[in-house]
Symmetry: C2
Subunit: 353 residues, 2 copies
Amino acid sequence: MGIKDVAQHAGVSVGTVSNVINRPDLVAPETRVRVQAAIDLLGYVRSEAARSLRAGQSRIIGQLVLDMANPFFADVASGAARAARAAGLRVMLCNSANDPEEEAAYLSLFAEQRVRGVLLTPADATGADLAVLRRHEIPFVLVDRVTSEGCSVSVDDVAGGRMAAAHLVGNGHELIGYVSGPMSLAQCRDRRTGALAALTAHGLPEDALIHIEAERMDVASGRDAGRRLLRLSRRPTAVFCANDLLALGVLQSLYAAGVPVPGEMAIVGYDDIEFAGAAVVPLTSVRQPSAEMGQIAAELLIEETEAETVRHRHRRVVLEPELVVRESTRSDRALPPSWERGSAAGTRALPCG
Amino acid sequence: MGIKDVAQHAGVSVGTVSNVINRPDLVAPETRVRVQAAIDLLGYVRSEAARSLRAGQSRIIGQLVLDMANPFFADVASGAARAARAAGLRVMLCNSANDPEEEAAYLSLFAEQRVRGVLLTPADATGADLAVLRRHEIPFVLVDRVTSEGCSVSVDDVAGGRMAAAHLVGNGHELIGYVSGPMSLAQCRDRRTGALAALTAHGLPEDALIHIEAERMDVASGRDAGRRLLRLSRRPTAVFCANDLLALGVLQSLYAAGVPVPGEMAIVGYDDIEFAGAAVVPLTSVRQPSAEMGQIAAELLIEETEAETVRHRHRRVVLEPELVVRESTRSDRALPPSWERGSAAGTRALPCG
DNA sequence: ACCCGTGCGTGAATCGTCTCAAACCAGGCG
DNA sequence: CGCCTGGTTTGAGACGATTCACGCACGGGT
């Protein structure tokens, strides 16, 4: 069941079989069909292990994400897989679950696999994992993070924060809540910076942005943040949330308290995950081009690995976010909910589970 | 940078280095530390390709799912990854996107990789892909599907349908809608069968279940189904939906039409994805033990691959679903929404995206 | 007749690890 | 002194595909 069996069966040498598979133009047509027939007959499948061993590297790209269950990363992964396939490579997707130890374990797995390169969103802030990659000379591209020592693809969070806040100010809001995740995350800081810039650009004072910090960026923390929001002495007329899960939580709290959305409180989320558009009050959200991020990251990585003659220069790609306006900030509430408009996310097909 | 360099540096033979790595107990302590020092110094990483070539198989399990973006499959994958790691294996997760061609491509990738085995939820109904796996003698376990020719892990959909309908009947509903996906799917047929059985068991006639078939099982189709539901001459007082995405869509339509949920229309979904509990009217849903399915499937597969002495017998594991009751079927609406109760799904941490 | 180029096929070397039979060594015992 | 034993190390394949320097044959040009 090896290449030798095929060769013997077709009456040729192993080299010729290899040529039929990899460089068919070097083989006489007659021989080619004979060999191909033997391959089909025997059900021969070449061994990727042997190929990789010989080549000194595998045809796999490793990808490490923070949470596979987060639709954002699922989208990033699908973009990366698409780009990889276009280059004849495959992606091995692993989930660090935000745990630096898991992350380190997966990186050494990747090293053993001799992967072409790694796409990662590090859970480890110390940079120790990047040092490991550099030590083994494994090319990498950061996704949704930035580093000075390699390529990265991220989204302009300052711009995203600015457009969210500008949208709210444009709708007449003059006191706005910012429901943030931990300020240790660059994302949360940048989005706040952008929002603040938008307010001051429109002549509002700095304290027009009321800061509420959630411990984690999930739905439960969002519900808590919503309750805190309602207890404020100066209640904002709008909230900007650092991600959609927080926004969904806030929405739930408001609903429970009987506060109409967007009538008494408008909401803007971030990420535009599928369920933002599918909420009962569809959420206005800042869309990140997640699949595109994955695709560009993979393309950068592939370019780096193929840079034999051309010298590869590390690049920092920053993509622009996009505001998707839906019911949760609609000022004219006479219109029916427009679930169908604004984004294709709501219509994406999810097969049964 | 190979095992030879380590051997030379430590002044031993390659066999000894191999032993230090794989069977340290065979090596004298003094030698062991000397070799280990050389390994650390040189940053040696063994080549998985060479290992696999030698062993004739890799340490990877291939997993093929219908949609990575569906939280259900994300959960299945995480369960499988856990079990695999416990056995010293890794999972290579691939997304067929419900496309039989993609599926076939990934299966031949797995064959080239000489994976230990494959976990799959086939998109291809013809069984041609299973024939390929059998031809190459690659062990496989079906997930959420059943076959007579191998192991499988699935959930009792008849029981799920029955408990959903029984819950509604128990709440006094006597006319119930069933929003189904395509009846070509065994899932949809079985859930209907179960619902019907529950109705008749409670003395209701067969036509107490009103069938509405959606083209696809996504939110948009659910919205459409909701609109059709409201146009019926005999309007049900409850709906059972074949998955949560359909249920979310139905919920949206009802909300848009001003129909109170659960006041005038109760809703039960299926799968209990995270966003079912996070909807503004949290959905009652039939929970599938998704992570457990993945874990059991992987364990079955591992058992099959390790069955050298013991003869492996294919098994069909059928798990029991569980009804998670939330607001959307609560008969006492005086209570505040209970987002925090009923399931841990609503509190799962999703890091920022 | 000779040479050369071209088209096609060959076969051996190579990649890095594991495994196993054999070698080696030190010490104890007859 | 020779033999045996048990702990330790060695070194030679073997795994399967790729690649490349050659060899062979044929036909055209000189």
